[in-house]
């Protein structure tokens, strides 16, 4: 016990961001293993794998995608509240490109799974470009206009859903086009959305850690003035982070609307910005900016999803879910704070004296 505490207080926790979220995830899974029979059962249907654990990863893929982008933004010392709204915009654009009937103000149910107004690559590319433009907008406000990140991104958080509604003329757009729905619903041994998360994680990791970008982001997040003096264009770094975050939100929007076969401007991505921020915080990145770990953030997203899934499994009613989630988040964040760690450390040393 004493040794464990020593590890906890000195290096292990502060040095490795990964260790802690993994421990939390393990604890939750351990709880599931003990209390929920068959939680770890994985079924093989026609070569595709199904099961609760896979559901956690699949349902967590949207928040994971957001958390990847959010990590970079938070590491620069900012925050992006608009990712949920950007998801809705991206979904609306994709929906309208496949089924433009809403523009003529007529609800037109397409049932043909091969019908689409524009080819698949346009349906995917255009929403992503729009999402990137949203990210650039945020980045410009924060980096060049020097508006505080929370205020700057609040603008698009509020306005974004309105824009999404305008795009779809205030209607919900049905998506029937089969190839597109594979993004969110498809299975290739594992769910397709898992591959998307994995590829995004890999690409982002490579961009940040195989180039100097990661260090620049951390440097700007820790001390933007010193970074500027060292020749790092802190404005461009911030712009890049917000742009990339917008891009990630765009992908998450596509996954979300493909999953529910509807682009619903009112509900897609609702409150996901908060989940994404929490995932990053659980992953150990400080809201003040600085050191970050992408993998830890994705594990943070899985922690959030595992909690949700577990609560469903043990029969907590859906309306009480957010309260339980909040408790878990509070515990995790408390364990991260220096104050609490000092208390733990103090307990350890006092015992030694006795």
């Amino acid at each position: 016990m004493k040794k464990f505490k020593l590890n906890l207080s000195r290096n292990a926790l502060s040095e490795s961001k990964l260790l802690f979220p993994i421990i939390v995830l393990m604890l939750i899974l351990l709880f599931d293993f003990i209390f929920i029979p068959g939680f770890f059962k994985i079924e093989n249907r026609d070569g595709n794998l199904y099961g609760s654990v896979i559901d956690i990863m699949r349902n967590g893929s949207i928040v994971s995608l957001l958390a990847i982008g959010m990590t970079l933004v938070i590491a620069t010392g900012g925050v992006d509240l608009s990712v949920g709204a950007v998801m809705a915009i991206s979904a609306s654009v994709a929906g309208i490109l496949m089924n433009p009937s809403a523009l003529k103000n007529e609800v037109f149910f397409v049932t043909d799974p091969t019908y689409t107004f524009q080819p698949l690559w346009v349906v995917i590319l255009v929403p992503l470009i729009v999402a990137i433009i949203c990210g650039i907008w945020n980045g410009m406000l924060v980096a060049f206009m020097r508006i505080q990140p929370m205020v700057a991104t609040l603008i698009l958080m509020i306005a974004g859903r309105g824009i999404a509604q305008l795009i779809t003329n205030g209607l919900r757009v049905q998506i029937t086009y089969r190839p597109f729905s594979l993004i969110g619903q498809g299975w290739f041994i594992l769910p397709v959305s898992l591959y998307i998360v994995f590829v995004m994680l890999l690409i982002t990791w490579a961009i940040t850690r195989r180039t100097a970008i990661g260090m620049f982001i951390e440097s700007v997040g820790i001390n933007d003035r010193s970074s500027f003096f060292s020749g790092i264009s802190e404005k461009n770094i911030k712009l890049m982070a917000y742009t990339f975050c917008g891009f990630c939100a765009g992908i998450a929007g596509l996954v979300a609307c493909s999953n529910i076969k509807t682009s619903d401007a009112n509900n897609i991505g609702l409150y996901t910005e908060l989940d994404a921020i929490l995932a990053v915080v659980i992953g150990g990145t400080s809201m003040a900016g600085g050191r970050f770990s992408l993998v830890a953030s994705v594990i943070g997203a899985l922690v959030m999803q595992a909690v949700t899934q577990t609560m469903y499994a043990v029969g907590v009613p859906a309306f009480a879910l957010t309260a339980i989630k909040a408790v878990v988040v509070i515990i995790v964040i408390l364990l991260f704070s220096d104050q609490v760690r000092n208390v733990i450390r103090g307990l350890g040393t006092q015992k030694n004296e006795v």
Binding site: M215, S219, I222, N223, F228, F229, S230, G231
Partner: protein, 507 residues
Amino acid sequence: MSEANNYILTMEGIDMAFPGVQALENVDFTLKRGEIHCLMGENGAGKSTLIKVLTGVHKPDAGKMILDGKVIHTKSPLHAQSLGISTVYQEVNLCTNLTVAENIYIGREPRRLGSIDWVKMNINATNLLKRLLNVNIDVSKSLGTYTVAIQQMVAIARALDISDAKILILDEPTSSLDLQETKQLFMVMRKLKSDGVGIIFITHFISQVYEVSDRITVLRNGKLVGTFETKALSRFELISKMIGRTLADLDEMTNIKLKTSKRIQSEPVLEAKNFGRAGEIKPFDLELHAGEVVGLAGLLGSGRTETASILFGVDRPDTGSMIFNGKSVSDYSPLGSIKRGVALCPEDRKAEGIVDDLTVRENIILALQANNGWLQYLNLQDQYELADKYIKMLNIATPSADQPVKNLSGGNQQKVILARWLATNPQVLILDEPTRGIDVGTKAEIQKLVLELADEGKACLFISSELEEVLRTSHRIAVLREREKVAEFSGEIDEHKIMHTMAGSSE
């Protein structure tokens, strides 16, 4: 009065270890009532750590502290304060976005009917500053609008005003004060001393030690060297006790300077013409030659830092032009400067120099990497090689290159920043107060290094508030007064002449 009663504070056998460093080892320290006691030592000697143990920032691994006859365990600076131990830290620890009055009374604002009595607070603050420090400023303006010197004074006023201090700790309060302000501070210190307050004074200015202190305690590498009566210890003895060896660097420096002055190129590397920015520095002409150290002398607020900022492109000039290696310059930005081969060690190490959570290695490669661009990431092996090279070359005391730079002492942080710029292999090196808050040994090391760099063919602009230091290192000296370049001296430089020029008085 018995001997024991005479001491207001006794610290015995203090041990303190950080990961990889034994910061304090069996250190004893005593403080008498009504005494000014200097704590001396090089960077990393353990002065700041000892103070932090006393004020409850760190919990010592061993040892006990007796305040006024009672054993105490300080738990936090706030707790220490309530016991009567007030501190003014090395770097100003105030909120620059709050007003002066708010900074002084934060946490203990005068109240009326439960809400803060702003009027009373402002009046109290004005009176306090006037009474204690004889400073007359508008206390309702935010602290950030004042100079570092004034901010320091506010910090001192705050520390003095909190409770009735039995012990006042001044951790390098004078490093950013000018002569006049230092004198004011000493007056306040003597007054407090006569009131029976014990003052622990940390400074790097040897002359100040002899001006005010009664006793001196010297630390070296976390160990106690001894406590001495100031009168009984000569300056030379003090310095040799601090650095553990004798200083023969001075003569060596003069030799290097004479030797290098022959190698100064006639064509300037950097030539600023009518260069200026309204409100910062009036238009000036300045030439920097390869192989030459140009000193920039002037009082606090004379525009030294502003000159450095504008030359490096932190601020854009609004008049004039710059010619670099014969080519006219158009890109005025830090990155543009780095690409040209200009480097700036900024004055404010904490805010503009180090990136405290990054490692020593990352801090060293930062500017070079910015120059190379984000795509050409130095591979890890090269990074370590580079870091190790400079750790060795500049004698940076760190357990490893992977140590976060915030764990290093001030002087070593300064060396890391120097390393950052040397790694970019600059042609022009602007050093703004590179020796601020640094011990004597490292100071001499850095001064020598500057001359060596000039010898290698770099052009250096050396800025310091210590005229003696400027004189010692510079081949040529430009003097600033009230944000204007007023004169330039070269050849045999007369110290008095420069002082008169700085002050604006006739001889």
